[in-house]
């Protein structure tokens, strides 16, 4: 038990990333407002990005720019480079989702998922 706790404390940034992930996931599932769902999705994505970037962190490391003759400790650049791509992907998914929500608002006059369900069930 104490071992687990001390492990968590040592890797607190992983813990925080997972807490953020759960917050995002919960927002996404429990809110009926579509905009809030998209916000939850973004929080979730950000949590994963934080998690991924913190994997590459080295205690006391600096930006990986090699200077000749100097012997520094560098952070791992690969996760940061990958996450730049990941951020671009997340932005485009968000943009697409928001544009779909605009269309839904035009058709239904609301962005509330439950309201939309009610409108649809009334029609059938």
């Amino acid at each position: 038990m104490i071992e687990i706790l001390s492990n968590l404390l040592h890797n607190f940034y992983y813990l925080i990333a997972i807490i953020l992930f759960v917050i995002g996931f919960h927002t996404m599932l429990s809110h009926s407002n579509l905009i809030k769902k998209i916000m939850g999705m973004n929080i979730m994505d950000t949590a994963i990005f934080l998690f991924f970037v913190s994997i590459g962190y080295v205690e006391g490391g600096r930006a990986p720019i090699i200077e000749l003759g100097q012997d520094h400790v560098y952070v791992n650049p690969i996760p940061s480079a990958l996450i730049l791509t990941g951020i671009v992907v997340a932005v485009s998914v968000t943009a697409f989702a928001l544009s779909l929500i605009v269309k839904i608002y035009q058709h239904y006059g609301t962005v509330d998922a439950e309201e939309i369900m009610r409108i649809r069930s009334r029609e059938v």
Binding site: M41, M44, F52, L82, V89, A97, L100, K103, H107, I116
Partner: protein, 495 residues
């Protein structure tokens, strides 16, 4: 020529992506060029896939380093028997659907978005071909995201309410799936320090002893992420709406190819990357088996009660993707062979069924199953093709559906799990319950006079149907062709 031949693995993907990017320009200024360029690009990729197939059968699997950066640093494409099997399926069926789409779309979409449709279609094809070839985890994630956005957009392009809503639901759920996959990739990278499949495979046995928790979390994240995207049973909720409301060519490609490519990704990750002895300690494959067999039965049951023909086909897809995962989950040689073969067979059957349903809607405007009585006399060709697809779905001998079910059953017996043979038999009966009445009523039912044929089918819509129907029969009678390739793919995965 030889210099170019070395770059074929990259060309298959790049050709589709480049043509997709120039399509909006063509749609704006040279509208008449859209269709020839799109067809040319997919046929070019098809020819290259055939070329790669010959190359692989001659010299065995080989890898290609993108941009000249060798494996651990750069992105690597691996051309092996399994990826060429997927390539042939994707480009071959994709080409036929595109031929069908060129005619069907004019009636289903607004004039000014037809050009954009080809952008999305080629983007989707390109990302799927990339998924089949890639050997790099992060590259896999990028292609998965392209595939997800393109497949949502290909639904919402028909801007009515059902499509937009289904598309948003699909987008949100598949974003959760991609998030899960990225978290899984992070976990794998954390303990192995590599993103390349080959290097990860080498590092995994040792990593599993040191950090079993990380790997288990990664496995569950991958299963959930891919499960959402491939519509594995309890995660299938988005599929029926999305696949039934989309334009018919989109339904055909989504049901026929897109959910299959995620099954292929699942095979790549779990059968090639993870060592098989992991499954002796982690009951992952048992979970997959339960999910898929429940999916097979429940998907068919849902399909029985549907009134809309496209919705019925969509629920049938939920059941059929279960077969593929059942084959993977059995972890036996014949089972995996059946699963892989079913990827190809179901791609043929389901795209054909969706296209013939689309043809019926195109000609008569009828979507309700009960209104289809007596339509066989009015549209004999489409309904005969539909019947062949229906027989194949049920798994009647002489059709290819029988072959894959046969190997699945043998695979289940090989590992001493006769329960799954019962599942396959039961679901074949259920398939019969909802497919055969349509066929019988279409040809022998008393037709209402209200069903009239408004449009005659153009040859561009009938030709793909005829080709696919004959392919079903030919691969059913002479299964050697695809079976040989699938067999080599399984052998490759086993090593």
């Amino acid at each position: 020529m030889t210099a170019l031949a070395a770059h074929v693995p990259a060309l298959v993907v790049v050709n589709l992506l480049m043509c997709s990017y120039i399509m909006p320009v063509l749609a704006r200024w040279k509208k008449h060029l859209c269709i020839p360029v799109a067809l040319g690009s997919v046929s070019f990729s098809f020819i290259l896939s055939i070329f790669l197939t010959f190359q692989v059968s001659r010299q065995g699997a080989f890898s290609y380093a993108l941009g000249g950066w060798a494996a651990p640093w750069g992105i690597e494409f691996v051309v092996d028997h399994f990826s060429v099997f997927m390539l042939l399926t994707l480009t071959g069926v994709g080409l036929l659907i595109l031929v069908y789409a060129t005619e069907d779309l004019i009636h289903e979409l607004k004039q000014d978005v037809v050009g954009w449709y080809y952008t999305l279609y080629l983007l989707l094809m390109g990302s799927m071909v990339g998924l089949a070839l890639t050997n790099d985890l992060f590259n896999l994630f990028v292609f998965v995201e392209i595939c997800a956005i393109a497949s949502c957009a290909i639904i919402s392009i028909k801007e009515n309410r059902e499509c937009i809503e289904a598309s948003l639901k699909y987008l949100i759920l598949s974003a959760v799936g991609s998030g899960g996959m990225l978290l899984g990739i992070a976990m794998i990278y954390m303990v192995t320090g590599n993103l390349n499949f080959t290097y990860v495979t080498e590092a995994l046995p040792q990593a599993f002893e040191l950090y079993p928790r990380n790997i288990m979390v990664a496995m569950s994240m991958f299963t959930a992420g891919i499960g959402v995207k491939a519509a594995l049973f309890p995660l299938h909720v988005w599929l029926p709406d999305a696949h039934s409301s989309a334009p018919s060519p989109s339904s055909a490609i989504l049901s026929g190819l897109v959910i299959k490519i995620y099954a292929a990704v699942f095979i790549k990750i779990f059968l090639r990357m993870f060592p098989w002895d992991v499954y002796e300690t982690v009951p992952l494959m048992t979970i997959v088996l339960i999910m898929s067999s429940v999916g097979i039965v429940v998907g068919s049951m849902f399909a029985i009660v549907q009134e809309d023909i496209k919705k019925m086909l969509a629920y049938s897809s939920v059941a059929q993707i279960g077969y593929v995962f059942l084959g993977i989950g059995l972890l036996s040689q014949n089972g995996t062979l059946g699963g892989i073969l079913h990827i190809f067979n179901h791609a043929l059957m389901k795209s054909m069924l969706f296209m013939s349903a689309g043809a019926i809607i195109y000609s008569t405007g009828v979507r309700r199953i009960s209104d289809l009585k007596g339509i066989g006399t009015k549209m004999p060709l489409v309904m005969s093709v539909f019947s062949i697809g229906a027989f194949s779905m049920v798994g009647i001998p002489m059709t290819n559906g029988f072959i894959s079910k046969w190997y699945l059953a043998i695979g289940a017996l090989d590992v001493d799990k006769p329960l799954y043979v019962a599942v396959i038999l039961l679901s074949s009966l259920l398939n019969g319950v909802y497919y055969l009445p349509i066929v019988v009523n279409a040809f022998f039912g008393e037709g209402k006079e209200s069903v009239t044929v408004h449009h005659k089918l153009p040859w561009k819509m009938t030709l793909p149907l005829i080709i696919l129907a004959s392919a079903i029969i030919i691969t059913g009678i002479f299964p050697k062709l695809m079976l040989g390739l699938a067999d080599k793919a399984v052998m490759f995965l086993l090593n």
